[in-house]
Amino acid sequence: MRNRATTTLKYPKIRQSWSKWNLYNLQRLRERAVKRQTFFQQKWSAKSLTRAYHGEQVRESQWERMFNRRVRSVIPMNPRRMAADDGSATAAGRGAGLDATEGERNIVQETPYTSMTYAPLERRLDVAIFRALFASSTRQARQFVVHGAVTVNGKKMRFPGYLLNPGDMFQVDPERVMFATGAPKNKYDRREARLEKKLAAKAEAEAAEKAGEEAAEEAKENEATPESETKESEPLDTRKTLQQMIAQAKNIMADNKTVMAGKRKQELRGFQKAVRRVMSRSSITDTQAGNLEAQFSEILTLLNAKQASRREAQNKKSESETTEGPEATETKATEAEATKDAEAPESAEASKPAEPAEGAAAAANEDKPTDALTEAFRQATLNPEKEVDVSELSWTEIDVLKRALVQLRDNPVDTSKPYATPWRPRDYMNAFAFIPRYLEVNQNICAAVYVRHPVARPGFSEVPTPYGEETSTGAYHWYLRRR
């Protein structure tokens, strides 16, 4: 399907998307000047504006079939009031209740029925995925569905136009969600990933070559006559491939060691960043306050287990330092300092130029951590075999340490991911972040339940639309087909 949903500046249309163009268009959106328009023109413009936002991926005829002039609405009832009055007081007098004084009168807000014009489209799977904040636009949500990353009630659903029923649970692959909502990689991140990939490929090729040579030698030794050579060409090939496979397996294991070492370094860097972010934040939500204790002990054991591999990495590092020239050792030393000292954001930033703006911001509002805390961080990261000495820390500091460790574990640096790591939300996401009540979302597993159909209630409509009631009314009247 061709994407006609462009975001232009000249004739701005609001789309279901988190792009900055859309944000800019949304903030400069003003009420339409309808005074000079005919009624038909008003309806037409209202319809074209709203349709650009609601289901632009749906054909007009398709949408016209979906449109329903009946709007679902609810009236919130107060049991206390119902207990006090069986309805006769409301019907008293001339049928609208006895005259009440100003204070007693219950001011009921009007229900914005026409804002619910596009409610049937909210049932669509792609729209629901966008509304659950699993994709950065409806188009992207649609792509996720078509590419098979979405399940409904545990079964793969390939139709973006599937209309969800109340109680349906849909799930999106968490990796895709992280990619869709996370900040993109910058060129440094991409380069790093490329280099790592290249290194891995090189090591693999070398191992394969070695294995091939060995196999050839063996073949020469084994085979005496040329006849047998020609005859046994097929089984030989199979033997070769078997040997290659064994070599590859070995290679992967060897490869893993080097990867571990590199990753270790990156993890340390990521940890520093995480710590800095924790420090800069005055309050962090209690998303995981419940099982922090367990996670803390877990991460400590994890760190213990990983210690051996890191030792190897350190050994290698020292070896390379001795072999390389003085300049190289200098840079290595600075890097090592950076990794050791959690309190040196500038040098760390210099060693890794990614996310400069954020780093600067973090450095700007950073409360200086105490020496004891940094010492504890160092212990926790560099020397995890020992118990972390917590005696000198205050309770808040211990808390910070825990949070930082948890964050390090949950949000590691991993160049193989298609998004910037450690993960952070993409720019301008917060300006579009809301979850309507007809969905119940569990972000941890990227699953959501379509609880019920969207409804209107006094003073409130559940269908998210950027336009006011006047425009929505125009669109509603357009689809009533009495032009």
């Binding site: 049991p79 119902m82 069986d86 649970m169 996370g182 939500t285 998303t287 954020e358 979850i435 569990n442």
Partner: protein, 408 residues
């Protein structure tokens, strides 16, 4: 000059009609008599509408290449670097919508707390609170571990019953994932909970009840109540919600002494137990059940009784609550019975066969031959089997093949 010339793009010429008026230095050295006047015209025609979109002062004054940056783009990026930069990253604990930025400008750095409207032009849409992780886990604990009824949990936490069910499903799935060691989107979850307003778990049960997450007693607007009916009633008559329902469904006025004094929760319980039937009016296709009063149709009818008892006995609240719990229990039992009855009725219709050697279960349902199902000639769309002259539904025009439901 004929007016259509300006819309032509001239092939093999250095002067395309897209060139801007300032673009002269390179072309003046290559004068071609046929092109020059033409291009002049085309340029003048074209530059007038696009003039406001050109940057007023180019940073490269001697360059002949037209810049791609229009004025619109320039203003956009200017906004993004000044006002828009506030919206770039979120502020943990508060929302950060366009309206929030404007409120901050207007009312100071705090803005207007509680005014979370993502769309500046739509005052009717508000970003509503979502359940915090603790509250979600608490609901799961209550329902699944402590085996409390969904209805009780719903009234205690102020969360809709359907949402309670959804939360239990989702948390159950999350626990499964954790057990299996599947990677979770934890940083994403944390970020979303920081951006969107959340309902916190209150340590005090009473506080939790007084600050509900959402309205739990929503009455869905029935289509019978759409009509505006003028129904004259004498002033001396006690015209209640029950009477209003009868008027809306065109049922005869009830006699004095009918159904008086029945509490709404009792009505619901009796309906669930099958001891009471809703009266029907009309005949044949036009038959419909009488619209019940709002007291019966709301999700928590027992709360009305609780409130009236609380108002009547403010001194012995403990007894009131005890009686309330008893009623809840009774109501739940009745509901369970109704579900059981329904399931039994469904099972009675289906005949199941599972051969020992087969991995399939065959479910056989009897055909109902009637005017509604198979039609007079037996060829109705809903009739089972192959019917002569009736194409299969997947061969018909306009049949949508997207599934309409997915069984859990």
């Amino acid at each position: 000059m004929p007016p259509r010339i300006h819309s032509q793009i001239i092939p093999n010429s250095l002067l395309s009609c897209r060139s801007s008026a300032s673009q002269t230095s390179t072309h003046s050295s290559l004068p071609s008599p046929s092109c020059a006047p033409l291009s002049k015209l085309s340029c003048s025609r074209h530059s007038t509408p696009s003039a406001p979109h050109l940057p007023q002062q180019s940073s490269r004054s001697f360059s002949s290449t037209p810049t791609t940056q229009t004025r619109l783009r320039e203003t956009m990026f200017q906004w993004l670097t000044t006002e828009g930069s506030e919206l770039k990253s979120h502020i943990p604990g508060t929302t950060n919508y366009i309206t929030d930025g404007r409120n901050r400008k207007k009312f100071g750095p705090e803005g207007l707390p509680g005014d979370s409207k993502p769309f500046p032009l739509n005052p009717h849409f508000k970003s509503e609170r979502i359940l915090s992780e603790e509250l979600r886990n608490d609901i799961y604990q209550r329902v699944v571990v402590k085996k409390q009824s969904v209805r009780a949990v719903s009234t205690d936490t102020g969360v809709d019953m359907r949402r309670v069910a959804a939360v239990c499903r989702l948390v159950e799935l999350e626990n499964q994932w954790r057990e299996q060691g599947k990677p979770l989107a934890l940083p994403y979850a944390r970020a979303v909970h920081e951006m969107v307003p959340t309902t916190k778990l209150q340590r005090d049960a009473r506080l939790q009840r007084e600050r509900p997450h959402e309205q739990i007693n929503d009455l869905p607007a029935h289509r019978l109540t759409d009509a505006q009916i003028f129904y004259p009633v004498s002033e001396s008559r006690q015209f209640t919600r029950v009477d209003a329902g009868r008027v809306f469904s065109a049922a005869p006025a009830r006699l004095r002494g009918d159904d008086q004094g029945d509490q709404p929760w009792e009505v619901v319980r009796d309906l669930n137990l099958g001891e009471r039937r809703i009266e029907a009016v009309g005949k044949g296709d036009g038959e419909q059940r009488v619209l019940q009063p709002a007291d019966v149709r709301i999700p928590h009818p027992h709360l009305i009784t609780l409130e009236s008892e609380r108002a009547a006995n403010p001194d012995s609240l403990r007894d009131v609550w005890r009686a309330h719990e008893k009623r809840l229990k009774e109501g739940n039992e009745a509901e369970e019975k109704r579900k059981q009855r329904k399931q039994e009725a469904r099972d009675r219709q289906v005949f199941r066969i599972q051969p020992k050697s087969s991995r399939f279960e065959f479910r056989i349902k009897d055909v109902v031959v009637s005017k509604e199902t198979t039609g007079t000639d037996g060829r109705n769309a809903k009739a089972p089997g192959r019917r002569y002259g009736v194409p299969r539904s997947d061969r018909k025009k306009g049949q949508v093949k997207i599934p309409t439901h997915v069984l859990v």
